[in-house]
């Protein structure tokens, strides 16, 4: 740890830091724009100027850029020296020359890094009287607003979008003071990580479009630490609420998972919480199909009566919290409980949990993923099933350039230097998938084939690692050999696979490769992706019933009542089986957040709280249990699903019930025993016993927001069992960083203030508690050599029935059930698509943009798909985008051209 002298005071700083990072880490305010902890320095904005002195006798010193100067032992600098202060003041005055008079109508106002830095630098009045340069804006799609006049040319947007996230359609265009950051022509930003531009841009050039529609200033939002419900990665988020509506999702820093970035599904996919399809009241479905609203007490009484008098089964859900699933299982008993997976998915989830938990090593965190030195993606299209992981893999691919920088004495934060030195060198990434992924550009080699063939090639890689030989055609051999060599020569190889292809052999193949690498005394990591936010949790809360046996019990009348928890069964089993089962049941109790097909057949509907309106915990792909906290109190009779199921009564409050659920769950299911550690109280966790306020210290309108209903301000509701309060009172400063509902520090109003919560700028959060992981018994899976290579099928030849074989493919926008109810997501998702081989397309007389529907009526009745002809799709197979309906993977289905299909006009440019 070198010691440096800043303004005649000695500070110990981290080795290898630059001066800016060192100053920020030691709590010294130094303004900056272009530096970003995740993206390093380029020295573009000239804002972090400090004076560096030659030695202790040097009086004059010279101005250097803090972000471009490494720290060294005994270095003497000054932040407060007059010439540095004047230099910074001049720079910000230049940057502000053309800045428009927009702050009152700018979505960034109040959390603007440019505002903060302007105040920090002391630029208070405008001397420039000349005319301001202006730009025309571009349409950038349903997520992002563009307001180019506000740009200060820090280059952060393109550095993030192109260099960090691998986007290709956002550029720095033009020259001199005409620099323009946008697309070559207006149109939707293609990257699924475009939403991060909102947080990366230090001013209001890129703003959150859906948030802007019903905008609220940062200071007026009520927030709590939350977890994204979009996929099983479990990114940390900070949702903001005002007037009973969820307004936006911001990133919440977690060093191990999402760090500074979210995907667009996570950021923009929560609109369903406010949607018109939202269920806000309990109700009864009448004989004629009408919906009769009943009050909460009545609903609870009816529910209690149903539970008492009938033979029950309960169907849980991988998108419901651990508490909800466990409450239902406790109510109906394990023998009558179904975890809620489709029959194809359930065994795969069990297997994947076993493989990624049971072999003595947990699946790697995203931080660890970013440190791998060779990657094999086996079958999983991570850009669509676990998008944030795809962003991390992009960083993994740059590891070789970081290795090269060391011997050349280029510090790792010297972004342009590291990139320039490495040229196009990339860490080996090999990918085998059904269709081309959006990671093609970082793949050393990739291959598109069928799921069976992917497993086969995976097994071939194992064979090669074990030193045996395999026989393959040339292209496959090159891939398999390349991947095997890269994995063998790496010290931290990573194998990524998942349940998305619904193929057991692929998972086995991935695990076998990892085992083979372990035998070579390496430190291999196996990362298995899961489909939904709590897939792991639901998989661990086991039930005796499979989906089909549950439905069969209802159909044959051996039970007469089903309780369906946050699950649309039409996505989990064939529609006619579900319809038959639900109509055979005398009572169906449906609990859900938004309306769906299952609820249409429910006789008693109970409104379940969304993630923002209740507390709960979910378990991510690593087995990390994370708690999401209640952001605001729900409207109407909405209540947490676990509260409905556990039957909240006057005697027991919600908090007691939840605590009991967690402790019972921990006792009954040993693997979840550590969940009791999740519950943190303000007094235990922080330095003070005061609660953490959900509202900011500048929260406005308290005495007016409800005045139209009653002028008597209601007493703020107490939140006994969480560390948070529903008010602006409390202590937000002295609390652990991982419990911060929002980031805000004196002088730092923007999200850049997260640095003030970190122990070291860009490092771990101050005071964060240890992560809680589920414990898993040693694996019971014997990795038999069951893959296709050891049997007869090579996976290359079509075997089976007539028609085309269904292969599940996924779309980041639309495949997830709840986020698909958000209008911006629907706009981005477009129509449901089917991918076909050119030969098959020819046989069906369709081309890209035409419509197809299933001629075998039981699968997706009434649904037509937009054809996407792709040479990568194997002949005889079709890739069907998972979305609204149940699609049995591996089924053989015939398709017919939809003659009534209206082709969408081909878009040339969108203005």
């Amino acid at each position: 740890m070198p010691k440096i002298i800043i303004d005649n005071k000695e500070y110990e700083v981290a080795d290898g830091d630059n001066l800016l990072q060192a100053c920020l880490s030691r709590g010294i305010d130094l303004p900056y724009f272009c530096w970003h902890p995740a993206m390093g320095s380029v020295g573009a904005c000239r804002q972090c100027a400090v004076v560096q002195y030659q030695d202790e006798n040097d009086e004059r010193g010279r101005i250097v850029m803090g972000c471009m100067t490494p720290v060294s032992e005994g270095l003497r600098i000054s932040v407060d020296a007059n010439n540095a202060v004047n230099f910074r003041a001049s720079v910000i005055e230049w940057l502000m020359l053309n800045h428009p008079h927009d702050c009152p109508v700018c979505e960034e106002g109040g959390e603007c890094h440019l505002q903060d830095m302007t105040v920090m630098t002391g630029h208070t009045s405008r001397r420039y009287t000349g005319k301001k340069r202006t730009f025309e804006n571009q349409y950038l799609g349903p997520f992002i607003n563009h307001e180019m006049n506000r740009c200060i040319t820090c280059y952060r947007c393109v550095r993030y979008y192109k260099d960090y996230a691998g986007g290709t359609d956002l550029q720095a265009l033009g020259s001199r003071n005409r620099m323009y950051f946008g697309r070559t022509e207006p149109g939707v930003l293609e990257s699924e990580f475009s939403g991060n531009l909102v947080e990366v841009c230090p001013t209001g050039v890129f703003t959150n479009k859906p948030f802007s529609e019903s905008y609220t200033r940062k200071w007026d939002l009520q927030s709590a630490p939350s977890v994204c419900m979009g996929c099983a990665v479990g990114c940390n988020t900070s949702p903001g609420e005002r007037y009973g509506n969820l307004k936006r999702i911001q990133n919440r820093y977690n060093e191990d998972i999402n760090s500074y970035f979210l995907c667009d599904r996570g950021r923009f996919g929560s609109g369903y919480v406010n949607s018109e399809k939202r269920i806000r009241n309990a109700g009864l479905r009448c004989e004629d199909g009408s919906f009769e609203i009943i009050d909460k007490t009545d609903a609870l009484n009816r529910f209690a009566a149903i539970v008492k008098d009938n033979k029950l089964i309960g169907i849980g859900s991988p998108r419901a919290s651990v508490e909800s699933n466990y409450a239902l299982r406790a109510l109906v008993g394990e023998a009558n409980y179904c975890a809620g997976f489709s029959d194809a998915e359930a065994p795969l989830v069990d297997l994947a949990i076993d493989l990624s938990q049971g072999h003595g090593k947990r699946a790697p965190t995203l931080k660890r993923v970013e440190a791998a030195d060779a990657v094999l993606l086996l079958g999983e299209d991570v850009s669509n099933t676990a998008p944030r992981l795809a962003l991390s893999l992009r960083q993994t691919s740059r590891n070789v350039s970081k290795e090269m920088a060391g011997p050349a004495s280029i510090p790792l934060w010297q972004d342009a230097g590291v990139r320039g030195h490495a040229q196009s060198a990339l860490t080996p990434v090999y990918s085998a998938s059904v269709l081309p992924t959006r990671l093609e550009d970082i793949c050393t080699d990739s291959i598109c084939t069928t799921p069976e063939r992917i497993a086969y090639l995976g097994n071939c890689i194992t064979q090669l690692i074990e030193g045996k030989s395999v026989e393959l055609d040339e292209a496959d051999m090159a891939f398999v050999n390349g991947a095997a060599q890269a994995l063998k020569s790496a010290s931290n190889p990573l194998v990524v696979s998942g349940t998305s292809l619904l193929n057991e052999a692929v998972l086995h193949a991935a695990a076998q490769i990892t085992e083979a690498l372990k035998a070579l005394a390496q430190e291999p990591d196996l990362l298995l992706c899961f489909a939904e936010v709590n897939s792991v949790g639901a998989g661990l809360i086991t039930g005796a019933l499979s989906m089909h046996s549950a439905l069969k019990k209802l159909t044959d009348g051996s039970v007469d009542t089903a309780i369906v928890l946050e699950n649309d069964l039409y996505r989990r089993a064939e529609s006619e089986k579900v319809a038959a089962a639900l109509s055979a049941a005398s009572q169906v109790v449906g609990l859900d957040v938004v309306e769906n097909a299952t609820l249409e057949q429910a006789t008693l509907v109970l409104p379940a709280a969304s993630f923002a309106e209740t507390e709960g915990c979910c378990i991510n792909y690593e087995g990390r249990a994370q708690q999401f906290y209640q952001v605001y109190e729900p409207q109407g009779d909405i209540m947490a699903a676990w509260a409905w199921v556990a039957g909240i009564s006057k005697e027991s409050t919600e908090t007691d019930v939840r605590e009991k659920l967690i402790s019972d769950c921990a006792i009954e299911l040993p693997c979840l025993s550590r969940l009791t550690h999740l519950n943190r109280m303000a007094g235990q966790s922080g330095r003070t016993a005061a609660k953490i306020p959900r509202q900011t210290h500048r929260f406005s309108g308290r005495t007016a927001m409800n005045a139209n209903v009653s002028v008597h301000e209601p007493r703020t509701s107490e939140d006994v069992n969480s560390p948070f309060s529903f008010s602006m009172e409390g202590d937000s400063a002295a609390q652990p960083g991982d419990l911060a509902p929002y980031v805000w520090a004196p002088g730092w109003n923007s999200n850049q203030s997260v640095t003030q919560y970190q122990e070291h700028a860009g490092g771990a959060l101050r005071g964060a508690a240890d992560a809680v992981f589920v414990s898993h018994a040693a694996s019971t899976t014997t990795l038999e050599k069951t893959g296709p290579i050891f049997g007869k099928a090579s996976g290359k030849v079509r075997e089976g029935g007539a028609g085309l074989c269904l292969v599940p493919v996924y779309c980041v926008f639309g495949s997830d059930e709840l986020s698909a109810h958000t209008s911006e997501m629907q706009a981005r998702a477009g129509r449901a698509r089917i991918s076909l081989n050119p030969q098959d397309a020819k046989a069906l007389h369709v081309k890209t943009g035409d419509g197809l529907y299933c001629s075998t009526g039981e699968i997706t009745p009434g649904q037509s798909y937009e054809v996407l002809v792709s040479a990568s799709m194997q002949q005889g197979f079709v890739g069907l985008v998972q979305g609204a309906a149940y699609l049995p993977a591996g089924a053989w289905v015939s398709f017919v051209r939809d003659e009534n299909w209206a082709r969408q006009p081909e878009v040339i440019a969108r203005g």
Binding site: P104, K131, T134, R178, R242, G701, A704
Partner: protein, 171 residues
Amino acid sequence: MWSHIKTTWLVFLHLFKRNETVQYPEEMPYMAPRYRGRIILTRDPDGEERCVSCNLCAVACPVDCIALQKTSSEDGRWYPEFFRINFSRCILCGMCEEACPTYAIQLTPDFELAEYERPNMVYEKEHLLIDGVGKYPDYSFWRVAGKTIAGKGKGDARNELPPTEVHSLLP
């Protein structure tokens, strides 16, 4: 001693001064135009709402009696979907007027804010918005702001150059 005599003399002199008390409400007192009374929302010289719902008045309000929600019109203007002032809480401090970047919110000399029912003290936008410009006849925020609204494109605001031709390669 001298001070006592002086004070007594001054008090004595006041016996001959004119009475300041007026017979309110029959006789109305003079209120200066800058008096801080009932709050109004004004319109700009074009007759459009001045308020852009920036929320600065709400955050400046020490008793938190202002609540509003932003929405925007077809022509791109931001305006409040609702704007509510709870006058039963308002202390007429004028901080909102000081914070307002568009001169929308202004305090008027009307101080007669008595009601029999407290809910009547809650003013919505329809009660607050007047048809005039108030104390500032000339200012229109949208003529200064860089954000586009219908009829005012990029480069049309005050002190703006025409939009940059990005494709130009000229030095």
